[in-house]
């Protein structure tokens, strides 16, 4: 369902609930009328004698009129301007000429969303004493409106998420939710007034009986009837009001997506609320609870003014839900996300290549989640890249030299052979050799990723030449190491034109054989000199994916042949196009395979890294029992 459909659905449902609300008021009138007729006629009440025009006129219309007048009184007394509400909550007006960067950003975001929703720009307030994330819109018309955010929202949300929140509030303004809720609150007060009047009558009736010695049973009875019917009505009224409010929240979330065209804007903000909370301490916050962005307090579900946060996230952006389940996840901080680095960083937040550690815990639970450590190590990796290499990344020619330089062998003889293959490029490549040798494997893979992204715009024949040269250089010693395999696979995948437009692969036979190729290589990397245990590891991993792993046994191959590069990168491309579910399964199979001998070798880590990068699943530092 897209956001327009969600909006339509929410609108339809809130109309239904408002109708129910009106029906509830009518039912109160009818209930009181029926009670009166019943008392007047004794217990001979039947459908035929139920109708009594005079009683109906007095009781039914009287009740409705009473509720109506009480509502009107309440609505008029509540009807304050937007600024009065904001001030009552202790909010401070943001100076339109502010020099504070955060406030400037807020004002700009509000202006942007005003344009996106076609509203005039409202006044903007900040609640300085609220550390948690929330926001509300006040005002009964588009012209007289104010938007107020908490300090916590200003500090914790990045620009994009702030847009999502403000877009949500604009929907409340645009759709007249404040007015709608004011009316509901007024009518609820009218129903409540019935209870108050009833209690008054009971007390007066009871007191007069006490004093005079003989009861005024009639008054007490009327009072009790009013209290009973009023209480039932009030109860249902509250439930319906909350239901309306929840529909308006869905509507506002969907509208926010319409305004920003970015489900992750509001989704990210909701995710942060799930973590940090949305409590508002200001005492008069209850009156605007339905206008707030997040729930003010936790209420049981039928009285809640806001839908559960998971449901809201699921509707705007289901992919974000998987982050919700992880309690320990630290969302990236503003700067990273604003710079758009995080997407790239995720891939780099990976194990250092010390190797030989035993695994503890379930690996795939950890894979795919970001944590602070891996982000930090990703930043370190990027920082460690020396200046000359950094500069080389700017041009595609130098980036090509970098790629070749990373493939140079340490052995002098082999290196000389490689230089021959490079011909006139040799001196340029040599230039980078020194700085690259200092990098560890994990920085090298990160660097390769950056370098290949620089080459993507080259013409096809140039790319084909780079790939074939890289293969020749790698095979100069007639051997294919795991690192070279991973390296060349990554080059092939990153530079292939087909990756971007690959169709989602659904054929399970193809996916299975692709996974088998991958597992075969990993099994061999795990125990390079022992075919039997490699086969056992392979079987162990493959069991996750299919029932008869033995069928694929011939895929366990020694890493030695150039053709394997093509085969593995083809398989990776197939897996990269698979659905998230399939990817998760493949990762689990890889985990089982790697874990089989209770050891992770460096080669296994290199491949793990490759799989993570290619499938877009970060493989963080923490799963190695460090």
């Amino acid at each position: 369902m897209n956001f327009f459909e969600y909006q339509r659905q929410a609108r339809k449902r809130s109309v239904l609930y408002v109708f129910l609300f009106c029906m509830a008021v009518i039912c109160i009138g009818l209930a009181l009328y029926t009670l009166t007729v019943w008392v007047l006629q004794g217990d001979k009440l039947s459908l035929r004698t139920w109708w009594n025009k005079d009683v109906f006129l007095y009781v039914f219309l009287g009740t409705i009129g009473f509720i109506g007048l009480a509502s009107l009184y309440r609505i008029l007394s509540l009807r304050e301007g937007a600024d009065a509400i904001a001030r009552a909550l202790g909010a401070r007006l943001v100076d339109p000429s502010t020099k504070d960067l955060k406030e400037r950003k807020l004002l700009n975001v509000v202006e942007e969303m005003a344009i996106a929703s076609g509203c005039p720009v409202p006044r903007v307030y900040v609640m300085d004493d609220e550390p948690q994330i929330n926001a509300f819109a006040a005002g009964f018309s588009v012209q007289d409106a104010a938007i107020c955010v908490t300090k916590g929202a200003l500090e914790n949300l990045n620009r994009r998420e702030l847009q999502g929140v403000i877009g949500h509030e604009f929907s409340h303004i645009l759709n007249g939710d404040m007015r709608l809720n004011l009316k509901l609150m007024g009518v609820l007060f009218g129903i409540f007034a019935l209870i108050v009047v009833g209690r008054f009558l009971v007390r007066v009736g009871g007191a007069s009986r006490g004093r005079k010695g003989k009861g005024n049973a009639g008054v007490v009875l009327i009072g009790l009837a009013l209290m009973l019917v009023g209480a039932i009505g009030y109860f249902f009224g509250l439930i319906i009001q909350a239901a309306v409010s929840r529909q308006r929240e869905f509507l506002a979330d969907a509208s926010s997506v319409q305004f920003t065209r970015d489900p992750e804007a509001i989704g990210g903000a909701l995710l942060k609320i799930a973590r940090i909370g949305s409590r508002v301490e200001a005492p008069s916050a209850a009156e605007v609870s339905h206008m707030l962005f997040g729930a003010r307090a936790n209420l049981s579900s039928i009285f809640a003014t806001h839908p559960p946060i998971e449901e809201r996230i699921r509707r705007v952006s289901p992919e974000l839900l998987r982050y919700l389940k992880d309690e320990n996840l630290n969302l990236e901080t503003d700067s990273e996300r604003d710079e758009g680095v995080s997407g790239k960083m995720v891939g780099y937040g990976v194990v250092g290549f010390e190797g030989g550690r035993t695994i503890s815990g379930r690996m795939h639970d950890e894979i795919g989640k970001l944590d602070e450590t891996s982000l930090r190590s990703a930043r370190d990796i990027l920082k460690n890249i020396p200046e000359d290499i950094n500069r080389a990344l700017e041009s595609s020619v130098d980036a090509t030299f970098l790629i070749f330089a990373m493939l140079l062998d340490e052995n002098e003889d082999v290196c000389a052979r490689q230089m021959k293959i490079l011909k006139e490029m040799a001196p340029h490549v040599r230039r980078y050799e020194g700085s690259i040798r200092k990098l560890d494997y994990s920085s090298k893979i990160a660097l390769l990723d950056l370098a290949t992204s620089r080459l993507r715009n080259l013409p096809d024949d140039a790319i084909a030449e780079i790939i074939s040269l890289a293969k020749q250089i790698a095979m100069a010693d007639m051997k294919l190491t795991v690192f070279e395999l991973a390296f060349l696979c990554l080059i092939c995948m990153r530079l292939s034109r087909k990756t971007g437009q690959a169709k989602r692969e659904r054929s399970s036979a193809l996916l299975l054989s692709a996974s088998a190729v991958l597992l075969g290589v990993i099994a061999d990397a795990g125990s390079p000199d022992d075919v039997v245990s490699a086969k056992k590891a392979f079987e162990h991993g493959m069991k996750v994916l299919c029932n008869d792993p033995r069928r694929y046994m011939q895929k366990v191959r020694k890493i030695e042949d150039v053709d394997q590069i093509e085969e593995v990168s083809q398989s990776l491309m197939v897996l990269a196009s698979a659905s998230d579910n399939v990817k998760a399964k493949v990762i689990r199979a890889v985990e089982e395979c790697v874990k089989f001998d209770r050891k992770i070798t460096r080669d296994e880590l290199v491949l793990l890294r490759l799989v993570g990068l290619v499938l877009g699943v970060p493989v963080p530092l923490s799963f190695v029992g460090a």
């Binding site: 020099k99 960067l101 400037r104 950003k105 700009n108 975001v109 202006e111 942007e112 969303m113 344009i115 996106a116 929703s117 076609g118 620009r159 847009q163 319409q258 305004f259 065209r261 710079e339 758009g340 680095v341 790239k344 990027l382 950094n390 990344l393 700017e394 950056l450």
Partner: protein, 196 residues
């Protein structure tokens, strides 16, 4: 007598529906026309902002003279094109050249933003970060103004083409409206180089 009343009531009802549809169409048409003006306002804002941004960046970006010059010349071209377009609004030729100039400017700005990312000193400069924020906001506003225009056109089109509105729309000459296509030029389509 009764038939007369029924017929009269039906006629009155029809007139009310008729007026409601007509007024709705007028509102929607005015909304999208106003939305178009909004885009123009934001484009002007961008022209005013750019010289300031470049002035601040100049001191730090000695080696990026080319990028800065490209931004300034693109800005001046777009400014001239916008003036021409304002004199002959709706002329397809001037509109096309404005769209093209805007595309070039967008591309040049994108590259400047990417370059600024590479200079930590410049990024830390307070005036610069203020200006960057303003520029980001203006870029967003232009995009959102376009988006709102297209949303408004969509609403108008939906209202205009539905039955029975289409009868009234045709009777009173409510013209069809066109969406604003993305003005992506070759320049704009080039992803800005981002370096870490």
């Amino acid at each position: 007598m009764v038939t007369l009343i029924v017929i009269l009531a039906l006629v009155v009802l029809l007139v009310i529906v008729f007026v409601a549809i007509y007024n709705n169409l007028v509102t929607l048409r005015n909304t999208y026309k106003n939305a178009y003006a909004q885009i123009d306002v934001q484009l002007k804002r961008r022209y005013d902002l750019i010289p300031n941004l470049v002035e601040t960046a100049k001191g730090y970006l000695q080696h990026e003279r080319q990028t800065l010059e490209a931004v300034i010349s693109a800005r001046n071209q777009a400014f001239t094109a916008a003036k021409a377009a304002a004199e002959n609004p709706g002329d397809p030729k001037t509109m096309a050249s404005l769209a093209q100039a805007e595309g070039v400017l967008g591309g040049a700005l994108g590259r400047l933003l990417a370059v600024v990312e590479q200079y930590p000193n410049l990024k830390a400069n307070e005036t610069m970060s203020q200006l960057m924020e303003e520029l980001t906001a203006t870029e967003n506003k232009i995009a959102f103004a376009r988006q709102f225009f297209n949303d408004a056109v969509l609403n108008y089109k939906n209202a205009r083409e539905r039955f029975p509105n289409n009868i009234i729309a045709n009777m009173f000459g409510f013209q069809d409206a066109a969406f604003l296509e993305a003005t992506e030029s070759e320049e704009e389509r080039k992803a800005p180089k981002v370096k870490f």
